[in-house]
């Protein structure tokens, strides 16, 4: 006798529910810290399946942009939409549904030091699903295998090297098979071999799991290896978005300065300079 099982047709988790193209859409985004404008009304879009690298020097605004994309900072003006959800207007329920489809690997790893590596990786599954413990165990250990940390589930984060912490954090970020993965400075503090391994892994994740990946980095070699497209940020403006070749060939002085590691010439406005030095601190 043949037995047939069909999926419940609620449409839950289907692309039509939350995932229209593009996956990320930012319009006229401004960000301020006090009286300093960090992002100058930028437009930004990432389509499904691409690896986008956001590149820029210190103070370019790339970390501020990432915080807005993650919903950690509300736009002062402009809109940020992820998977069709406007982060400025989303309800708690919409944000929860969104977080299930997004993975984030933070620069420092952000592993919980009181939990084992395995429990850190399993945490999103325990928080966001009602899967049985056996499935959770297999899924989390599977992701440790993917990042070459198979068998390390019982170690504590304090027992890991810097490269292992990055990989464990990545395992946690991808344990829910997110549609969208954010990766903040994957190469920072790693030796060249470990860094190259992470780059390879990012490429394989996109190809095998169809993830859309946004990487924030200032590491040129890594950016050129993994990016489909690169967005170059400088002083709160997007200088250009283009392919690796287009960025390399860009006829733009500031982009060439970044690529060739030439420091920026800082303009000096005498009045503003003196005011900064002498005026009383704002309340």
């Amino acid at each position: 006798m043949n037995t047939r099982v069909q999926q419940d047709a609620t449409g839950a988790g289907q692309p039509s529910a939350l995932g229209p193209q593009p996956l990320i859409e930012v319009e006229k985004l401004e960000a301020w810290y006090g009286r300093r404008r960090i992002l100058n009304g930028i437009d930004f879009r990432v389509d499904a399946g691409e690896i986008r690298v956001i590149m820029g020097g210190s103070g370019s605004g790339k970390s501020t942009l990432l915080r807005h994309l993650l919903g950690l900072q509300k736009p002062r003006s402009g809109t940020v939409r992820l998977l069709g959800v406007d982060l400025g207007r989303a309800s708690e329920r919409e944000m929860l549904a969104l977080r299930r489809q997004i993975g984030v690997s933070f620069q420092g790893g952000a592993l919980l030091t009181s939990l084992s590596v395995g429990d850190n990786v399993a945490l999103p599954l325990r928080e966001h699903t009602d899967l049985d413990e056996n499935t959770i165990r297999i899924m989390s250990r599977l992701k440790l295998e993917v990042v070459n940390l198979g068998g390390f589930q019982d170690l504590m984060p304090s027992q890991l090297s810097g490269g292992m912490i990055k990989r464990a954090a990545l395992a946690r970020a991808i344990v829910m098979d997110p549609k969208l993965l954010f990766f903040d400075e994957p190469s920072a503090g790693l030796d060249p071999v470990v860094s190259a391994e992470l780059d390879e892994l990012i490429l394989r994740l996109r190809d095998a799991l169809r993830m859309t990946i946004v990487v924030v980095t200032h590491e040129l070699e890594s950016a050129f290896k993994i990016a489909d497209t690169i967005t170059v940020l400088d002083q709160g403006d997007i200088l250009m978005t283009g392919t690796v070749d287009a960025v390399r060939r860009a006829d733009h002085e500031r982009i060439q300065d970044l690529l060739n590691r030439r420091p920026r010439e800082i303009a000096v406005d005498a009045d503003a300079y003196l005011r900064r030095l002498t005026e009383e601190q704002a309340a």
């Binding site: 037995t3 609620t10 988790g13 499935t135 799991l209």
Partner: protein, 113 residues
Amino acid sequence: MNRNGNECVRESLGDYVLVRVRGEVDLSWSQQVRRAILDALGETGKVGVDLSEVSYIDSSGIAALVEGFQNARGKGQQFGLVAVSGAVLAVLRLARLDRVFPLFPDVESARAG
């Protein structure tokens, strides 16, 4: 088949049960696939999972296959993956599971073991 195109069919071929899976196996659907595999292993000692028409599988789907294989091994049963699609193979390779599961190009070779 439902409007999502996902389907899981158990087919008896003598003493062999083939679980044919079709569509996208993700969190919303993988537990039903898991149940079908475990039920098949409860029915017979020889089980294959046909993945030729699976266009996407996430790690919850892979976990269902791993659990089925581990159960079969524990009881000395025969278990294999049949006609694995390119999309599934890419995910198996990502975790090097293509070197762990018995993979068969078709049901005849799977039945022969």
